[in-house]
């Protein structure tokens, strides 16, 4: 039984060909693969996303971080927006074919994202994570409060491991978003299967 969705986010560490090859193998076990390459140019992100499609990743499963134009020209599933991105309501109105997700860090932000038409939110970081060592994690209680404050899916992000997936789901999360847990794993396919197992059993 499907209990939750799984989003995998790139972290800028893989070479394009390497990331596309991994994405081409793991996509059957994930609901979305996010191109989240903060130091890459538009041309590079465009070429990387096109490479994922070439590796048979379904376009609907590809989400582009921040760059709505790239998502639109490649007809990917959607875009994921940060606070510094174009506002979600503007994107939804002008690019109705794209799903829009937002990163939020509080109940207020989650509610605002919902009001602006976001299709889902990432809430985090929930657990301690190497990528944000100096910020106290928001924890499972805040996750639970956020999940109960909106009707759109809330995905838990930050320090998500197979061992804590179930805790997040039990708190109301619709799924989880994972960066290093999959792409930095020695065997990304095996890693993604472990997450998948926790989300389906």
């Amino acid at each position: 039984m499907k209990k939750g969705t799984l989003h995998v986010l790139s972290n800028g560490k893989q070479q394009p060909e390497q990331l596309a090859e991994i994405a081409g193998r793991i996509h059957p076990y994930v609901d979305a693969i996010h191109i989240r390459e903060k130091t890459k140019t538009a041309k590079e992100i465009y070429e990387l996303a096109a490479l994922l499609l070439k590796h048979q990743v379904p376009p609907t499963k590809v989400f582009i971080n921040d760059r709505v134009d790239i998502a639109y020209v490649l007809k990917t599933g959607g875009v994921h927006l940060a606070y510094h991105s174009l506002p979600p309501d503007v994107v939804k109105r002008k690019f109705p074919s794209l799903k829009v997700g937002c990163s939020v860090h509080s109940i207020n932000e989650a509610q605002k994202a919902q009001e602006q038409g976001s299709n889902y939110v990432f809430f985090g970081h929930v657990f301690p994570t190497q990528s944000k060592p100096d910020i106290v994690p928001r924890g499972l209680e805040q996750l639970a409060l956020t999940c109960s404050s909106v009707s759109i899916p809330v995905l838990a992000i930050g320090g998500i491991k197979p061992a804590n997936v179930r805790e997040a789901i039990e708190k109301g999360a619709a799924g989880v978003a994972v960066m290093s847990g999959v792409l930095d794993a020695e065997d990304p396919l095996e890693a993604v299967k472990q997450y998948h197992l926790k989300l389906t059993n």
Copy 2:
């Protein structure tokens, strides 16, 4: 008589309100004002461009650097693309309402930009400029060769001052693009009028 077009490019030095106020005063004398703010986020560029429109700059005169999505949602005149941006042919095909300009540095690049459907190119830098102190300027002869190698308008950029506008036009340039010459001037309106005069007489 109109002899050439004038594009003014922002350079990241002005505060948003200051840039919008200047743009609101100078736009009658220019054909395009480019939002070229390399360190700003999408949200900041969006808000800045919206501020220009609020200051009565005609949308058709606003060009956004690199971010096609922002140009599209604000219905500005067009986008200006660099080598690291989305490819011009992709942008023209997917966003047919936008004019597309490209920065080029050789005849080959200019011809390729034309083949890809660009509406105009910037060629430069033509004269020595503080913003590129270590690169030898391409000079008037290369400008002339580039202008004669394509049928789309070529605008000269780089070190353009009122005193050398006419040389560029005589070499075949359809106009000039100016950054510091206008926005860093003590009196931007007076500065833009000087360029305008050289392009109309």
